[in-house]
Symmetry: C2
Subunit: 319 residues, 2 copies
């Protein structure tokens, strides 16, 4: 049974869009396909940052200031891990505390890692975690395998996405992005949700490191291209800046311009409409020229009412 | 470079004996060989309960009432893990909260698991953890491999040691104990510490599930037998009761008597002297008859002075 709306998702931006969407349509009508290219193994635990951000946001449990992790979190485990930084060998990457794992958040990673270790699929574990948080949106990891987003730095070397995003605070120039895949496909449920939904939305997430890993899976772009007329994207770039994270500077570093026209170029083959903010209205023609129909609506989700109108306009654009 | 005294150790009883020993000899003269048959994987983390109990005790950080875990511990992660118990499939063993992992204690497991995942040996990681806690006793896991203590229950079925000890609260009858080994040997450092120390002490730990896993490693019993005259054991049974844990009822369930004479029978081939409490003085002859020289000294470590005298008398028994 497929749901009415499928949303391609990264982390924070997508989570907020989904929350807004659930204020205008029943959550039971929505499927979220979530990027797992950011997933990482830390201290032996499997961390799925985008899945957790979406889950916690939809559960109303996200920390509203950080945008990630749980509200009211405590940090005893991390504080104690710091004890070991004095003894860790120089060539080790274990034991670092640059990736913040709150005590309550750790429970999610413990549960996920334990279940995966006994052979459960990430799709199953994700559904269990969502159920525990009473999230009614269907949350699907893009794949049950491993597809690690690797970032080539402009001054040489390649690092994992979390190394780039968290440890280096996405403040170093980037020369390229690559997906280090174990070859496993998009899950059957993902392909079904892309095929059968009435509407597909590309959430306002980073096109290069949040949406591209999903698109890199065999068959995804072809499925979207085949149903392009009912696919709509929400620009993560507003006024030349990313709503959140490094999308804008990445765009420039990777040879694009950091504006909605560049976003249109990236998505034109797989989506018909691009939602852009009024601040970018002057670029509407450039969006058209790039092959997408511009839909102008306030897209900075500064309050629930604005966010709800954005979600409504997005769905309406392809219905 | 071998140290002067080597102690074969389980958890709580051994940890308290080591603490006492360090009050009468320099910690730098002591090596502890610690049982890892209790080690377990929970939620993807490698837990080494006996190593941690010894480390935390020697660091003065153990919770004095529980006897395990850290003093001043918090339990946010466990509390949050309980959320997932409502969604865990019936056939899963992941996600249970019966094994208490405090938030600060979790840092130790995170560090250990992360280091092992990058290829470090348990011996190395244990030394790092001990260094971080400024523990000067040399702490050696008995092996770098896996040797899981499995407990056969009297009413059928076999469970892991932690299942028996923690989940079932060692309150069910036992029919047997077996070591499920990956075949890896005692470490070279363990064999060296057994060969070269002036004195070897068998700590007051459970003979069946704490000391036996160490003895089950190739060469350990032979090395001890060859130097039997300088090996002394401290009875974990006092007045027919275990100082801690299920040693006494296990002794009976496994076909022994639960007294110091039974302990002497278990250790006679590898140790010359058995330290017993005055309450068991009437059994001194039975200890002799079983092949060990009885040394009568108060062995309930009820206060530091008593414990120190026990440690002194233990070493003196074979020097």
């Amino acid at each position: 049974m497929s749901r009415r709306i499928t949303v391609l998702c990264g982390g924070v931006g997508a989570a907020r869009f989904l929350r807004a969407l659930c204020s205008v349509v029943p959550a039971g009508e929505v499927t979220a396909i979530v990027n797992t290219g950011d997933d990482t193994d830390l201290h032996g635990l499997r961390i799925s940052p985008d899945l957790d951000t979406v889950t916690y946001t939809l559960a109303g449990a996200i920390d509203p200031e950080r945008g990630w992790g749980l509200v009211g979190e405590t940090w005893e485990a991390m504080g104690s891990l710091a004890r070991y930084s004095s003894v860790i060998p120089e060539d080790s990457t274990a034991g670092g505390t640059w990736f913040g794992l709150g005590d309550r958040d750790l429970a999610t990673h413990l549960y996920r890692t334990g279940r995966l270790a006994e052979g459960a699929l990430l799709t199953e574990v994700t559904a269990e975690i969502a159920a525990a948080w009473r999230v009614e949106v269907e949350l699907l990891p893009m794949s049950d395998g491993r597809h690690s987003t690797m970032v080539t730095l402009a001054d040489g070397g390649e690092v994992s996405f979390q190394d780039y995003f968290v440890r280096l605070r996405h403040s170093v120039p980037v020369a390229g992005v690559r997906f280090d895949s174990d070859g496993s496909p998009a899950t059957p449920r993902v392909l079904e949700a892309l095929s059968n939904a009435e509407v597909v939305v590309i959430a306002p997430s980073n096109p290069f490191v949040s949406i591209a890993p999903i698109r890199a899976l065999d068959g995804v772009d072809q499925l979207l291209a085949a149903r392009r007329e009912s696919v709509v994207a929400v620009s993560p770039i507003v006024g030349g800046e990313a709503l959140k994270g490094p999308a804008a500077r990445m765009a420039i570093e990777l040879g694009h311009s950091s504006d909605v026209a560049a976003v249109a170029t990236l998505y034109a083959e797989i989506a018909t409409a691009l939602v852009i903010d009024p601040v970018d209205e002057a670029l509407a023609e450039a969006v058209s020229a790039a092959g997408m129909r511009p839909v102008v609506v306030p897209s900075v989700m500064s309050d629930p009412a604005v966010a709800a109108r954005l979600a409504e306009a997005t769905i309406a654009a392809v219905q």
